[in-house]
Homo-oligomer: 301 residues x 2
């Protein structure tokens, strides 16, 4: 059996009791270590807590060598630990499909991920549209497909969760070209960089998917001992110090409920300014849609 | 301190180790028992597992009497247990805002909820739009605001998670009118009813938000020992037997990735028919949007 086990967001103790019991009985335990990190725990912490060895699984091992992970899993139990929930990232679907092909039964033990825990900032999960990812820009490579997605969400008034890039065990172009297995230090995108990159693409595209006045919430170290939310405009976030990773960002939509704002204001340094930014969004959206659609809105739950 | 603790989806052991440690040290432990149920565990199971009393909190207690829950929480620790994640339902935002007003510190211990665990069906969470809720229709009350939301999602190619109604501790109109505190047996909407209600509204509105040929996935008893996914069209789901609760439903969007389909086919009784239903959706969407948008799609990640 292959067990996909979510570790949750931060602490070693964020694993579920059921997950822990399974880890303890498995023959081999892998930790997926390239799409996220557990904020308040190292591999050694996990090994201490589980009382057993944990094998780090980097991208190469999972994507090219998944047969090593799946070896004998028809007859022995293998655990594949994933920060957050096992079905947050595409790669693990790959692993399950490969396991199926080999006739290996698969079981998932779920846990919290940023996709649901982001509700802790006070925004209702019902009001979120599609989630997007933002990668580190390079001089000649600035992928911006997120822009159309954010615009789609905001056109219908929805919030957008923006997941920020994590680079773990990446090679420089030079080292890659020379075939040297030397890895760069890990990099985690902070809020400032995310906001600047978002504004850079808005400047290039100019379709007003959002502006520097758009109300946002920065989500830093979600679920960890020093979790922090900051409610501010995108322009303000571009100038803030977001501190230690991990970070995500929410861009608000105009279909914001009063209670969401009341909750968010707790996290705003400039409460009046933030409230005004939200009100301006709502006004602009109403003006753009005309009276008919505005009426529909009132009728709905 | 008020602790909001997610219980996950099904088993008593789905609580996190951290959550369990907090429950054990709290002075009072409440269980929110009206927006969801823990599928493989009763209140008594929980009490046995925690080794302590658990107080059932129905809607009245939380919404009208939250001061009872929050009593002394400035100085003692109180746990409020929620099936899934604490920030899945609006009501708990209320409770946190009330706690803040009373100067009570609040901490959340997250867990899996249907909003992220639904990824287990093989559809990518990135490809989901806003989540909607479907309530039991009555003869003279058929709220259909979900219809516009599903249409918004599907117009931009996104999947929709449809959460199905749960009626716990509801009074009949007659008993309510007579002031009798007699409650109806709990009701959980099944897939058949959901599909029929969805099709009823499509027939009324006629805007082709979806049809009986639209590919869907039924999600039954997610995270429980007998979790079941069925990939079928909405029309087919209207005729199936979905069995024990809880259920949810996903209506696919046309922006479906090949790997999502590969994964889903495992759950289709009629694999060829399902694949064709998906392909028809993609073709129809491409035809509707014209070549320009179709090109954009290819460029994106």
């Amino acid at each position: 059996m292959l067990y996909l086990i979510g570790l949750g967001l931060s602490y070693v103790e964020d694993i579920t009791v059921r997950g822990l019991n399974v880890v303890k009985k498995c023959e081999r335990v892998y930790l997926e270590a390239y799409t996220s990190i557990l904020m308040a725990a190292s591999k050694e912490d996990l090994e201490g807590f589980y009382g057993r060895e944990v094998i780090l699984a980097d991208r190469e091992l999972v994507e090219s060598g998944s047969d090593e992970i799946l070896e004998n899993a028809q007859t022995v139990d293998v655990a594949f630990l994933v920060v957050g929930d096992p079905f947050g990232a595409t790669t693990h679907t790959d692993l399950v499909i490969r396991a199926r092909e080999l006739g290996i039964p698969v079981k998932a033990i779920h846990n919290a991920s940023v996709m649901n825990a982001v509700g802790a900032c006070g925004l209702q999960l019902y009001n979120f549209g599609q989630t997007v990812s933002l990668v580190f820009f390079m001089d000649n490579w600035k992928p911006d497909s997120f822009y159309d997605r954010i615009k789609e969400n905001r056109d219908i008034g929805l919030h957008t969760l923006v997941l920020l890039d994590i680079k773990v065990k990446e090679q420089s172009f030079e080292n890659m070209a020379r075939g040297r297995l030397i890895y760069e230090p890990p990099r985690y995108m902070n809020i400032e960089t995310a906001a600047l990159q978002l504004l850079e693409i808005e400047n290039l595209r100019g379709e007003s998917a959002y502006t520097s006045a758009t109300p946002c919430v920065s989500v830093s170290r979600l679920g960890s001992p020093n979790q922090t939310f900051v409610a501010a405009t995108l322009g303000e976030l571009a100038e803030m110090e977001s501190g230690e990773p991990l970070h995500s960002l929410v861009i608000l939509g105009h279909r914001t409920h009063e209670m969401e704002i009341e909750y968010l204001l707790e996290f705003a340094a400039d409460k009046e300014g933030y409230k005004t930014a939200v009100e301006l969004e709502v006004e602009a959206a109403k003006a753009a849609r005309g009276p008919l659609v505005a009426k529909e809105e009132e009728d709905s739950d």
